[in-house]
Amino acid sequence: MSFIYTLLSVAIVFLLIGCAIFILGVKIYNGLVYKKNQVSKSFSSVDVLLKKRWDLIPNLVSVVKKHMEFEQQTLAEITRLRSQVMSGNISEDRRLTLENQISRTMGNVVALVENYPELKSDRHVSQLIASLNETEEQISAARRFYNTSVTDYNNALEMFPSNIVAGYLRYQQKELFVTPAEEKNNVNVGELLN
């Protein structure tokens, strides 16, 4: 009789441990899925804002090009970059590089507008630049959110015990948005004018 009781007790203990492991496993699995989806969600937020910026570019270029005769090269560069991004058949890495280039070139255009008093005082240009700067700040915020989500996700992939579940699910580490080296330097307006 006592043997049956012992056996039952051991079975209950194993059952409880099994339940605990199952609950923990479900929790870890759900956590990982949540983090993965959070990364996708944050990336799509960046994407939405980048598209918002694309829409502003043609307007800005068309307004400023008649005044900025000497910066036609810069304006052509922006249009070329935008067309490349919009073509769609490029890799994610290439796209990020192009977006960074657009950011930098747009920054140059805004800096150059300072040299054209008639442009600076134009209400339409001011509004466009305001929208552009606002969008740039939103993009920056969205990138920060993306980086936070990716860091959380990558941490979960490396930390115990979630790394076991992640390994089983074959989840891969994701890349952070990194500021290119040339963007870390201050903009040299003098250089832009040459």
């Binding site: 944050s42 700067n133 915020a141």
Partner: protein
């Protein structure tokens, strides 16, 4: 109207006039305010408020000439902030009173307005006190000593009087046990003494705010003659009706103290500073907000409550924020209460930010992760960290409906004259100065004048 109107009668009439004004009944409002002006002393605390409301009533009743005449009278007032209001409102009434634009600098007005304000140093403030406040401080110190003497004198009389009465009564009647008589005296004299003390302290405080605090606000807001935004700050020891209504709404909307959009049952505000610093309109005041339950009238017709609980006491700041946003973001002190997700989930999700020092000091909740980060740029985070250190207290912020709200709780009353400390000492003045400068300096500290588009 009789010149000897009681304070409550004046308040009642003012409220009545104000209500008429807001209901669009301009003629009765004008009649009430004119009658009030004729009956109250120019030194009364409400005199300027009545003048201001009367001008607004004239303006809305299309009696512009009368409004301008009264406004010109106010513009010549000896009280700096009153005169300032008059000058500013004259420009509203008629464009011919607009101040000529200074042509000494070529910079556009918007850039000029946004020039950074140089914060005043303690040494400058000390010099200012010696040059400008010494006479008022001496008068206040004399008043303080007199009040203290009155309080102690009356206390001694209250102690001696029962003994004397017992002596007289025992001489004439012969009392064996004087204890009941002493108890009777205590029941009568202690409340009478408390009422007397309150009156004495109230009369000691009269004029303090106008003579001292208002001058300090003017001093901090003074950015030099070359700045066009000088003279844009106003101070009012008390604001009435419409302004109080705005504060109630702002405090409720800020959701800093609680989740429900329910107004506090009671709100009082003192030491209100409002106006423009650069391009940013600000308002801040010392606010007391209470929840009250079980209200009833006692036998004397006074309002009594079974339960009162303090919702907030401290400085409350409101300013239009430069960025456009639609979601809510809360920046709370990183204490135990604000770290329990269960009681904070109404504020939204936790927003983990990159600045470790900021994360150590604050806990951020928001409806939208991206918008919260858009508002809390890396620059603003470091500025907030610095501001918290400067304040040396818990700082609560919320970004809601395009506005930034800041609440800094205090346990003690602010900007009140000291009774048991000399007013000739620099310590209390330094406290007033630092508290006011902390709030007025928010615009510079958090860079609220920065426009991201230019």
């Amino acid at each position: 109207m009789d010149r000897s109107l009681s304070v409550s009668e004046i308040d009642r009439l003012y409220i009545q006039g104000d209500r008429n004004l807001h209901q669009g009944k301009f003629e009765p409002a004008i009649a009430t305010f004119e009658a009030l002006l004729a009956s109250i002393d120019p030194d009364e605390r409400l005199y300027f408020d009545v003048q201001r409301s009367l001008i607004k009533a004239y303006q809305q009743n299309e009696e512009l000439e009368k409004a301008i005449a009264l406004c010109q009278l106010i513009a010549e007032s000896e009280v700096a902030s009153t005169a300032l209001w008059g000058r500013n409102f004259l420009a509203v009434l008629s464009p011919k009173f607009l101040a000529p634009i200074e042509t000494e600098t070529e910079a556009p007005a918007s850039e000029q307005l946004a020039k950074p304000t140089k914060p005043k140093t303690l040494a400058e403030f000390k010099q200012f006190c010696q040059n400008n406040l010494l006479v008022e401080l001496k008068a206040l110190e004399n008043k303080r000593k007199y009040t203290l003497k009155t309080l102690f004198g009356s206390a001694i009389i209250c102690l001696i009087l029962p003994r004397f009465l017992v002596w007289v009564l025992s001489y004439w009647i012969g009392i064996n046990n004087p204890l009941p008589f002493y108890l009777l005296c205590a029941i009568v004299l202690i409340p009478a003494w408390i009422v007397f003390c309150k009156g004495a302290i109230y009369s000691y405080r009269v004029g303090f705010k106008r003579n001292i605090i208002e001058n300090i606000v003017d001093f901090i807001g003074d950015c030099g003659a070359s700045h066009r935004h000088r003279d844009w700050l106003h101070y009012a020891a008390h604001l009435f009706i419409e302004n109080k209504r705005q504060t109630i709404e702002a405090l409720t909307r800020s959701q800093i103290i609680r989740s429900e959009l329910r107004e506090p049952d009671y709100l009082a505000q003192e030491d209100c500073v409002y106006g423009k610093i650069g391009n940013t309109e600000i308002f801040f005041a010392e606010v007391f907000a209470e929840n009250r339950r079980g209200g009833h009238l006692d036998e004397f017709g006074r309002e009594k409550y079974l339960r009162k609980s303090m919702l907030f006491h401290g400085l409350f700041f409101e300013a239009k924020f430069v960025k456009n946003f639609v979601s809510r973001t809360f920046v709370m002190p990183n204490d135990v209460k604000n770290n329990i997700p269960l009681i904070n989930n109404w504020r939204g999700d936790i927003v983990n930010l990159e600045d470790p020092e900021f994360e150590r000091l604050f806990r951020v909740y928001g409806d939208n992760q991206i918008e919260s980060r858009y508002l809390l740029s890396t620059n603003l985070m470091s500025r907030l960290t610095e501001f918290e250190r400067k304040a040396g207290r818990k700082v609560y912020l919320s970004f809601i409906d395009g506005f930034l709200y800041i609440a800094i709780p205090y346990r003690h009353r602010l900007f009140e004259p000291r009774l048991f400390k000399s007013m000739m000492s620099f310590t209390p003045l330094k406290e007033y100065f630092l508290d006011l400068q902390l709030m007025i300096g928010i615009v510079e500290d958090l860079n609220l004048n920065r426009r991201i588009w230019m």
